[in-house]
């Protein structure tokens, strides 16, 4: 049972380490999906949102970690 729990936790941890990064990345995908499917926006707009949003999520996450560590130390 402990091994199974460890495997399930590891599976979750495979995709989620910093919760904020995961939430942001999913929000970017949801926005892109809304643009593409809901609003039938131009593919280029959806592409730009996807690319810029992913990069911004990453940068937000690393600089947020840095700021958190600084205030914690």
């Amino acid at each position: 049972m402990k091994t199974l729990t460890a495997i399930l936790l590891e599976l979750y941890g495979l995709f989620v380490d910093d919760g904020a990064l995961a939430v942001l990345a999913l929000a970017v995908v949801a926005l892109a999906a809304l643009l593409a499917v809901g609003l039938h926006a131009d593919g280029r707009v959806t592409g730009i949102v996807l690319v810029a949003g992913s990069v911004a999520s990453l940068l937000f996450s690393v600089f947020r970690t840095k700021a958190t560590r600084k205030s914690g130390s």
Binding site: T3, A6, I7, E10, L11, L14, F15, V16, D17, D18, L21, A22, A25, L26, V29, A32, A33, A36, V37, G43, R44, T46, G47, L50, V51, S54, V55, S57, L58, L59, S61, V62, F63, T65, K66, R69, K70
Partner: protein, 279 residues
């Protein structure tokens, strides 16, 4: 190119010209296949390399403390479980509509890739400690030695379970990487080839070194893999949403470049800020 083909290409008859065109077409096809498969093979190879080094460290610790019987039986049981998992889940992939598969795999790859890239950036900037195979080995070694007070049969069970857990956990990651990198364009076989190459390399180096593989530049590998998987993730998510990337798959190297520049710039800025704070 085979010698026979070289001779025929060099011929001057009409038949020779036809053969030459056919050979050029085949070579162009080979180049196209490689251009498409190379990113999948290399991403799968590098990502699997990292996972297999981690699994090898634990299995080696188990083998050196309790002997190779529990280490190998635990590993083999895990490989069997993984094979069953692939046999059960693999055929199901063919029944999922391609755009849905691309979207789901794209999102998972994006989460997976960004997670690795974030960690690699923080490690490169000195904000997180580097992954140390020697300390992982020492930790597993002392955990098993601490359990030495129990009876023999229980010890073998604990040791075998440790190897089983390590190979299962890291193996699941490898299976996911192979499917995620390859399934979007029917390149699972190529991605599996990359993973198998990584397995052979780790096994060969492990047998030669006979110790934990401490000199693998794990953070650099994770940095590269994080970049590649993030790029694949954005690309497949876009494909799943019918973005219609300019240049099609030629967009993947551009996305790789973008994440590389972002990662290097972020690590550089964080390092500079750390140095400034320290001085």
């Amino acid at each position: 190119m085979t010698p026979a083909r070289t001779r025929r290409v060099g011929g001057s008859t009409a038949g020779g010209r036809v053969t030459k065109v056919a050979c050029m077409g085949k070579e162009a096809g080979d180049v196209t296949i490689w251009a498409t498969a190379a990113p999948a093979v290399s991403a799968s190879f590098l990502a699997s390399l990292v996972e297999m080094v981690e699994a090898f460290t634990i299995v080696f610790a188990v083998g050196s403390v309790r002997g190779w019987k529990p280490a190998l039986s635990g590993s083999l049981a895990a490989l069997l479980l993984l094979a069953i998992l692939i046999a059960v889940l693999g055929p199901g992939l063919g029944h999922i509509p391609l755009t849905v598969l691309q979207l789901v795999i794209g999102v998972l790859l994006l989460l997976f890739g960004l997670r690795w890239l974030r960690k690699a950036i923080l490690r490169a900037a000195g904000l997180l400690a580097l992954h140390d195979e020697a300390s992982v080995f020492a930790r597993e070694d002392s955990r098993l030695r601490a359990a030495m007070t129990r009876d023999e049969r229980q010890l073998d069970w604990i040791a075998g379970l440790a190897a089983f857990k390590a190979v299962t956990l890291e193996g699941i990651e490898v299976v996911f990487i192979v499917i995620a990198v390859g399934a979007g364009r029917g390149l699972v076989g190529w991605a599996a080839l990359g993973a198998f190459g990584a397995f052979l390399l780790v096994l060969a180096i492990g047998l030669a070194v006979r110790g934990p593989l401490t000199r693998v530049p794990e953070n650099a590998l994770k940095f590269i893999v994080g970049i590649m998987l993030s790029a694949f993730g954005v690309f497949w998510t876009g494909e799943g949403l019918s973005v219609g990337w300019p240049g099609g798959e030629a967009m993947i190297p551009l996305l790789v470049l973008l994440f590389l520049v972002t990662g290097l710039a972020a690590a550089g800025l964080l390092r500079a800020s750390e140095r400034k704070a320290a001085s």
